[in-house]
Symmetry: C2
Subunit: 308 residues, 2 copies
Amino acid sequence: MDRLIEKVIKKDNPTCLGLDPNLEFIPCFIKDKAYKEFGKTLEGAAWAIFEFNKGLIDALYEHIAVVKLQSAYYEMYGIPGIIALDKTLKYAKEKGLYVIFDGKRNDIGTTATAYAKAYIGQTDIDGEKVRAIEADAITVNPYLGSDGIQPFVFEANLNKNAIFVLVKTSNKSSGEFQDLVVEDKFVYEIVAEKVAELSTQSIGRYNYSNVGCVVGATYPEQAKRLRQIMPYTYFLVPGYGAQGGKAEDVAVCFDKNGLGAIVNSSRGIMYAYKKSKFGEEAYQEAAINEVKKMRDEIKQELLRKNTT
Amino acid sequence: MDRLIEKVIKKDNPTCLGLDPNLEFIPCFIKDKAYKEFGKTLEGAAWAIFEFNKGLIDALYEHIAVVKLQSAYYEMYGIPGIIALDKTLKYAKEKGLYVIFDGKRNDIGTTATAYAKAYIGQTDIDGEKVRAIEADAITVNPYLGSDGIQPFVFEANLNKNAIFVLVKTSNKSSGEFQDLVVEDKFVYEIVAEKVAELSTQSIGRYNYSNVGCVVGATYPEQAKRLRQIMPYTYFLVPGYGAQGGKAEDVAVCFDKNGLGAIVNSSRGIMYAYKKSKFGEEAYQEAAINEVKKMRDEIKQELLRKNTT
């Protein structure tokens, strides 16, 4: 997690660019070019996705430290889509960005190990160690309990990478199972206690562990409590902007040094050009403006919080 | 789900072949050929995986109705591995098998829709509908609540495919969160009630819904109770054989017609040749024998249960 934190400090920005390339977010001039070359096929979609992602990364890599690739929007375009994910990931890393694979993977024992090796570890091919998909971190769903999480923790620690475990998600019905009350605790608090326990194995020089968590921006009260339960856990906070989360909502996730959380925005940044008067050709400038605006909002709120 | 059930009836076998192609399960003569051609690379591993899967499908397609592909063991071999998954899936379908993509996918709203379209629905490329990965069913993790499950149900019903929602998993620490007690119920029972509710939208001619569930063979007492909570829900039961589940443990998941459940075995079938005296070249015969043995064990137990 130190590697992530150093990048965030260097860019002075806790914003995470979510690359969820639903085709409807992609400017028509890019899609038209793709369809002309490949037709309205999975290959055409994948070409447009990589082209758009590359344009966004080129525009933003000097302003941000982290990107998060939402795997669903690549898997939706089949093998060509997954190849576009891999190319995007490699391109982002070339530009010095920290890359989170947002796949919310989960399974038991040896199968969890296989997922962990796939994204944040090394695959052993009868003695030859190779990397399958080279992410820096992966998101993990905790429903299967600690023998489904521990293999991810193990590979993260072994390979100096990280995981983010879902604790309290940003969606409306996240409470259905996560907010069930067990004696005097919510289920998400019990998950948080487990995450806190797993965190202690790898506390780095900034006092944060390789085991991070996901806490939605849409639940600030819960986030405040979770910050206390998991003092060494970096928060990946989705739900900013389009889903309704605001700067004051996410401020509770940060420590007094402005660390402790990264805040993801996907649609807000990718789709900023739709609100811009310069049209879709100016999608890069629109994204830069949006990222700067988001950074300033969060920084201002953190300043306000620290001085009151 | 009718399509699955018809195939199970026709083959008179509720066994599901789990294709979890960890390289260590694959006979050396196949791997040697792969490494000679492609080296110890992701491509070499992927070639061996597909070759082995194809051999198993060729041997077993007349005896079984269903295969389950555990995505982790393909993702572990990167893009070549995922291509091997796609090829295996297509090959199994050509041979008339029902194919479950075991990816335990989960996310919120539109992202859950993207996953559902990827595996059991259709991807819309500006008006052109194409299939990304052509599975018949997908496994789904419920931690995010109903707005994370409903999109899968919707796509299953729309495309006459199916989903299997994790309720009670087969691993040791599955109880950590699944067995938490909320008032007088376990969390997994509350999840089961939600699954039962979602099931009612699509009950087919055999009285089962497109919404199935996953219940580990290692927890027969819980399975018995879950069968009552979810009367219209087909059970996908992992954990048979290698993980310790026996015929008497899985019998509770079936109805009196011998329907209501499919029982998965991965290692037990793939790795049967290790226990055979004829060596690894005879992996197909060993797999056939194992499948027949497993079928007979389960059928005998169901007969015993129905007559006592």
